[in-house]
């Protein structure tokens, strides 16, 4: 449930009503950003932010560092395997 798609805020449309335009792969749509603004993150400073969009609302900011961490784990898994495979298939290894 709850189709969500990452998008980047490219314009603030209405500061009072907390409306902004988000860009998803070049497709734009006006969304409500009330859930991702607060005193630390005022509406005006949202341009450029990556958010998770659900039914026309930004429901979360996407944490770039966390995303990178997740990918890094996957990367390392892959590399570890590649090494193992390389060893397994190297001429000198036992069958």
């Amino acid at each position: 449930m709850c189709l969500g798609i990452p998008g980047r805020i490219v314009r603030i449309d209405d500061v009072d009503r907390k409306l902004a335009t988000v860009d998803v792969a070049g497709v734009k749509r006006q969304i409500n950003i009330a859930c991702i603004v607060n005193e630390a993150h005022p509406v005006e400073h949202c341009v450029g932010a990556w958010v998770l969009v659900h039914v026309g609302f930004a429901m979360a900011r996407i944490d770039e560092r966390e995303a990178a961490l997740t990918l890094q784990i996957l990367q390392e898994l892959g590399e570890a395997q590649a090494e193992l495979e390389a060893i397994a298939s190297s001429p000198g290894s036992s069958p």
Partner: protein
């Protein structure tokens, strides 16, 4: 009103074979028989909403759609009819634009609109304008394209980026308030087909991937030929915006309509020739081999997913609806 409207179309289509004073066009059979041994005959009702959209309009769509239904049979498209059903109160200016678009599209494609009809229905009895175009073409001797001709081992090609017409129309309706620059791919494919057939005699079957997208066309071929078809998601060419559009609305781009895309089933030995022929034509620059015909699960289309797994690509049940879950 009625006379005015007749005039709009007759004036736009004006050509030597259009005889507005007669109830039927009369076409030289000797000339037709010299061009091939079979007459191809097709019809399409075009009910697109909105009437004008990025990349085309109902008139261009009617002309191209009918040309394409002839072309995928291997026919040289020659003549079209145009029957317009018009809602009372529709502006003559709008009709003139559509008629001129049809005339222009036909002229560019080298086909002639030779007979027609217009009917005006009361306000509310139709949504502005529907156009039904029928088409005639000649299939040259020796050309044999059939939906039941796919054989295991054949390759599956498409001539370019998928899903653009369907996405452009959905976006143009504005109901989902999505803003994009996706344009309909609406185009006449007969020259591309001619180029393809000239270089790749091993083409078994062609089909324009209109309503229901390539998923539907592939299913039709799989069923008609009693073969399995496997396509590779990673090979299906798609514009980034179309992918984004589909992700936002939860749509599957394989089911989105195309109006300038065909699926070609080609014998393996001609696969490269076919790809080269397609890519050499402007309407095939993004052509790709997307899959192959298999012996497994006859009648079924399977896709190797981006992840490396598989899923069935079934016939569409009803029309695709935007979803949030």
């Amino acid at each position: 009103m009625k006379d005015l409207i007749d005039d709009v179309f007759v004036a736009a289509f004006d050509n030597s074979d259009l005889a507005p004073m007669e109830d039927q066009a009369r076409l030289d059979l000797g000339m037709l028989a010299a061009a091939g041994d079979r007459l191809a005959f097709t019809t399409d009702a075009v009910v697109v909403d909105p009437l004008f959209f990025p990349g085309g309009d109902i008139g261009k769509l009617a002309v191209c759609g009918t040309i394409n239904d002839l072309a995928v049979g291997g026919a040289i498209p020659l003549y079209l009819s145009c029957a317009a059903i018009i809602e009372e109160g529709t502006s003559v200016e709008l009709l003139r634009k559509v008629a001129q678009s049809m005339a222009h599209s036909a002229q560019l494609a080298g086909v002639r609109i030779v007979t027609g009809d217009t009917k005006v229905v009361p306000r509310g009895a139709c949504d502005k304008l529907f156009i039904t175009a029928s088409g005639l073409g000649v299939i040259p001797k020796g050309v044999q394209l059939n939906a039941h001709a796919a054989r295991p081992g054949d390759v599956v090609l498409v001539n370019g980026l998928l899903g653009e017409h369907g996405a452009a129309i959905l976006a143009a309706r504005g109901e989902m308030a999505l803003d994009c620059t996706i344009e309909s791919d609406c185009a006449p494919l007969h020259e591309l087909v001619a180029a393809l057939l000239a270089r790749a005699p091993g083409v078994r079957c062609l089909r324009d991937a209109t309503r229901g997208g390539i998923a539907t066309v592939l299913n039709e071929i799989a069923q008609a030929s009693h073969v399995g078809i496997e396509i590779d998601e990673a090979q299906c060419p798609m514009r980034e915006q179309v992918r984004g559009f589909c992700e936002i609305l939860g749509l599957d781009p394989l089911y989105l309509a195309n109006e300038g895309k065909l699926v070609a089933i080609v014998a393996p030995e001609d696969a490269d020739a076919a790809l080269t022929a397609l890519q050499a034509h402007p309407l095939g620059a993004e052509a790709r081999i997307v899959g192959r015909v298999t012996e497994l699960e006859p009648g079924r289309v399977v896709m190797r997913t981006l992840l490396g797994g598989h899923r069935i690509v079934d016939m569409l049940v009803g029309e695709q609806l935007p979803r949030i879950c």
